[in-house]
């Protein structure tokens, strides 16, 4: 396949292209959804195709094809060159790569004991059935029980006119239980539990990480919410649980550091490198390769989709803005550092700056100390997602939590909205716990420019905020 790609690259070069890269994805995605006792989705998706990125006079053109015959590849690379040529007169700022040292890396295989993609469908179904039994055992007034299995595996090839040549095998697996219970007033409360990452199935046999553990957690958390109160509205001190901390870091701050937004000056951070943006308690990192353990299950990404090795990037160091997330295309427009953040969800998209595994570094508090330091406020847990605008205004939904009074857990609270502006919020960080968790997975990945769900990891400690605006929900 690499030979076919290189042949097409030559054709574009012979027709005037300054630089060409080619990417071949051959991925297989399997998902199963069991919804209230029925398999509502049993699915296999094969995504295979080639994308060419061609540069001509400061303009770039991207074209792709699912047909991998020589004729179709030639057609696609010529199409990419054609649209780059058509775009060249409109270029104000040239998108061009600085030359890079070619990377040669072939057949990076993972060494899992039990490879998810080698399971039988019946093994996958069995995992969901086991969760179903346990969730029913521990839940109360369950009105909806959804069990999810997701898996991505395959091969990615990359080559370019500089002589880089890469072959590697992305993989991710994800298992989740989602329980909704009915409250006496007829409302539904939801909780979910699960874990995923670039991991072998042996992970799901370790302590606290079995499918049964996930099912039990989700059922018990939903049960606890049946009598939970609505959170009061207003500004309160807050402690965000690890998963919510990670999603806040990713969504509300991470995106603002992406090189395309910085280069276009549409991010409020574009001219603030070196400035103290947050309190000294916040250090934020994004990286492609991390060690896995019982609490840390990253998405393993050794190379990005421009063939660059993935570097560890410090975004915030003790509150000071230190770096941006770049592709080769955006690096010259920002701080010049190619970080290996160019990612595309599949061959039908050109790579753009995206996060990999993003997290806040742990602090030195225990959970008890953090709650005591908070005094009175909200301990917010989990999230069903959120939204952020280009100026840093954010809105997140925490799934559940506790009202804390004078350092003591008083009562559970239902889902609650957190709003504000991240640039104000960073200054309100009063500390972080020493326990650290990071997750990734197939479901609920990152979305940008129509590319969803891209597997990313996010995590951190529990973070203590002096104040966050909560609520507005009906009481």
């Amino acid at each position: 396949m690499l030979d076919k790609l290189n042949k097409a690259i030559k054709i574009a070069e012979n027709n005037g292209a300054k630089f060409v890269d080619a990417r071949y994805d051959n991925l297989l995605i399997r998902t199963i959804v069991k919804d209230n006792g029925r398999i509502s989705n049993l699915k296999a998706m094969k995504r295979a195709g080639v994308g060419f990125n061609v540069f001509y006079k400061g303009a770039s053109g991207y074209a792709f094809t699912a047909d991998i015959s020589d004729a179709a590849l030639e057609n696609a690379v010529i199409k990419a060159l054609g649209i780059a040529k058509a775009s060249a007169p409109a270029v104000v700022i040239k998108s061009e790569y600085e030359p890079a040292t070619p990377t040669k890396s072939v057949d990076l295989n993972v060494n899992f004991k039990e490879k998810p993609w080698e399971l039988d469908t019946s093994d996958r179904l069995d995992i969901l059935n086991r969760m179903e039994t346990v969730a029913k055992e521990h839940g109360e007034k369950i009105s909806s029980l959804m069990l999810l299995y997701g898996e991505l595996s395959g091969t990615k090839l990359f080559t370019n006119s500089e002589g880089t040549s890469i072959s590697w095998k992305p993989n991710v697996v994800d298992i989740r239980t989602m329980v909704s219970s009915k409250t006496p007033s007829g409302d539904l409360v939801r909780a979910s539990s699960g874990n995923g990452g670039s991991i072998g199935m042996e992970f799901y046999k370790t302590k606290d990480n079995t499918p049964e553990d996930f099912a039990k957690n989700a059922a018990l958390w939903a049960k606890e919410l049946i009598d939970a109160k609505a959170a009061p509205a207003g500004e309160f001190a807050a402690l965000t649980e690890n998963n919510l901390s990670g999603v806040l870091a990713h969504e509300s701050f991470g995106h603002l550091t992406e090189g395309d937004f910085i280069g276009q000056k549409s991010s409020p951070l574009h001219d603030r490198i070196g400035e103290q943006l947050g309190s000294e308690h916040v250090t934020m990192i994004d990286e492609g390769v991390m060690d896995t353990d019982a609490k840390v299950t990253p998405f393993h990404l050794p190379f990005d989709d421009e063939g660059s090795p993935t570097n560890k990037v410090t975004l915030l160091e003790e509150g000071v803005l230190k770096g941006f997330l770049n592709s080769r295309a955006t690096a010259p427009l920002t701080d010049g550092v190619v970080t290996g953040n160019a990612r595309a969800i599949n061959y039908t998209f050109n790579p753009i700056p995206r996060m990999r595994n993003t997290y806040v570094s742990p602090g030195d508090l225990t959970e008890e100390e953090a709650i005591e330091q908070m005094g009175t406020g909200i301990y917010a847990i989990g999230t069903s997602g959120g939204q952020v605008t280009g100026d840093g205004t954010f809105l997140f939904k925490a799934i559940r939590g506790y009202w804390i009074e004078n350092g003591e857990k008083k009562y559970p609270i239902k889902d609650v909205t957190l709003t504000g502006n991240i640039l104000h919020l960073l200054k309100e960080i009063g500390g972080a716990t020493r326990d650290f968790e990071l997750k990734s997975g197939y479901f609920g990945g990152c979305g940008k420019n129509g590319q969803f769900p891209l597997p990313v990891g996010y995590g951190g400690p529990k973070i203590l905020f002096n104040k966050i605006r909560f609520g507005g929900e009906m009481q």
Partner: protein
């Protein structure tokens, strides 16, 4: 083959691939029933971001197959529409079905209805539109906005040209196809003054080649206006006037789950037992209308081949219909409404589910100025409703942030305000409507006029 030939023969070409697939599936797995969905589209996207040009060409080309035996359903998809891709998807769908031990007793089979709705407007000029013209269009949007005001620090102007079609066939003998052409232009603008940054956008969409003039300027003007924002400075109930786009987002969210036949069947819709009840104000008429010829989303058939047709959802405030695909309609004992969809983009990777097509709300007689005048004091909401998609769709409670809102004072707009929070209940809101505007335009969130509500809590 030129693009006109490609498009003229697209339906028959796709149907031929489906038919070949059905023959292979029937011959190889004759004790199964099968459904094959094929899509082949071509798109050109030009985007000019801060002076950098990104151009992308390609399309959605792939196959999705459902294979069923003894009420056990497997689904598989593959990129590409070669024999190899189609046969891979068939083999994989059959294997998944075989691996199931439990039957789905609700399964009643594939669609066999022979009728079709109509395709929307098809414009040959879209097929001939060159890369150079698309670049010119995006460039015009970019420069209009960039040159509007010095406080504009970033502009993204883009054009998309797309055409193609899809075909469906199954072992019930069904074989149908639908085609489309469309073009979209967008501007996305960032303006900055002091430490305040504001974003705004505008767009145009059409099934024909449109003029991209003006959307750069209008987007830029919105962003500049928002720079003058001041805090609202209070929390209270007040009249909220949504412009067409925000009204569209609000109504779509209010109906998305409540009228969805699957939610109704599973008891997750608050309106599951309210058919025939008054759920909104007198004079409120809402349809799901997939047959608006100028609508880029118009299709002749739904995602499993059932004819597309308008459905009346709310008639004079009374709940008249839910929306269904075949599976959920049969399970609920209702008529299929032709609302099967494979995600918003009719992706070949998605098995059919249910979604609204284009929600239309009958306009009233009053202009937006009249709505503002009658509001007296309140807020006027534009742009995006942040967090609307995270509303509690079971209970209807919502809490949203509007970063692009204006104060209404003495019946007139009185300047932009900083981000505000609006909270209320989606389902109660149908009875909290106090005014319906007279706009009749189609937007990307339906054909819904400006709407004024009382009873929401506004805070900022």
């Amino acid at each position: 083959m030129n693009e006109k030939e490609f498009f003229d023969t697209l339906k028959s070409d796709l149907q031929a691939i489906v038919d070949t697939g059905i023959k292979y599936a029937s011959n190889t797995y004759n004790d199964f029933s099968h459904e094959i969905y094929i899509i082949n589209t071509k798109s050109l996207d030009i985007s000019i971001n801060a002076g950098m040009v990104d151009a992308k060409a390609g399309g959605q080309v792939g196959v999705g197959v459902r294979s069923v035996k003894d009420k056990k359903v497997g689904f598989a998809s593959a990129s590409g529409i070669s024999d190899e891709s189609v046969n891979f998807a068939i083999d994989a769908a059959v294997n998944l079905s075989k691996s199931l031990t439990e039957a789905d007793d609700r399964w009643t089979g594939f669609v066999s209805d022979k009728r079709s709705g109509k395709d929307g407007i098809l414009d040959d000029k879209i097929l001939e539109y060159s890369s150079e013209e698309a670049v010119d269009g995006a460039n015009k949007v970019f420069h209009e906005a960039k040159e509007f005001d010095k406080r504009i620090i970033s502009v993204s102007g883009s054009t998309t040209i797309s055409y193609g079609g899809f075909a469906i066939g199954n072992t019930e003998g069904l074989s149908k196809a639908s085609r489309y052409t469309y073009a979209v232009g967008t501007s996305y603008i960032t303006a900055k003054a002091g430490d305040k940054t504001k974003n705004a956008f505008d767009y145009i969409m059409s099934r024909e080649v449109p003029s991209f003039d003006g959307i750069g300027t209008s987007g830029a003007k919105k962003a500049i206006d928002l720079l003058e924002s001041k805090p609202l400075g209070k929390t209270s109930e007040m009249t909220v006037v949504f412009d067409q786009l925000t009204a569209g987002q609000f109504i779509q969210t209010g109906l998305g789950n409540s009228i969805n036949g699957k939610s109704v069947l599973e008891g997750r819709s608050i309106w599951a037992d309210r058919m025939g009840d008054n759920i909104g104000i007198k004079g409120l008429n809402i349809y799901d209308n997939p047959q608006i010829p100028e609508d880029p989303g118009m299709q002749a058939i739904d995602a499993e081949g059932f004819p597309r047709e308008p459905i009346k959802i709310i008639d004079d405030g009374v709940l008249k219909s839910f929306i269904f695909d075949k599976y959920n309609a049969d399970a609920h004992g209702s008529e299929n409404t032709g609302n099967a969809s494979r995600n918003a983009s009719q992706s070949f990777e998605a098995a059919p589910g249910i979604s609204t097509s284009t929600i239309t709300l009958d306009p009233g007689s009053k202009s937006i100025d009249k709505l503002l005048e009658e509001a007296g004091d309140g807020v006027y909401i534009t742009g995006f409703l942040m967090g609307i998609s995270h509303s509690n769709l079971i209970s209807g409670d919502f809490s949203i942030v509007s970063p692009s809102a204006y104060r209404i004072e003495n019946g007139e707009l009185a300047g932009a305000i900083d981000s505000i929070t609006i909270a209320g209940n989606l389902y109660k809101s149908f009875n909290q409507l106090v005014n319906i505007g007279n706009e009749k335009d189609l937007t990307f969130v339906g054909k819904i006029p400006s709407l004024a509500y009382d009873g929401f809590t506004v805070s900022g």
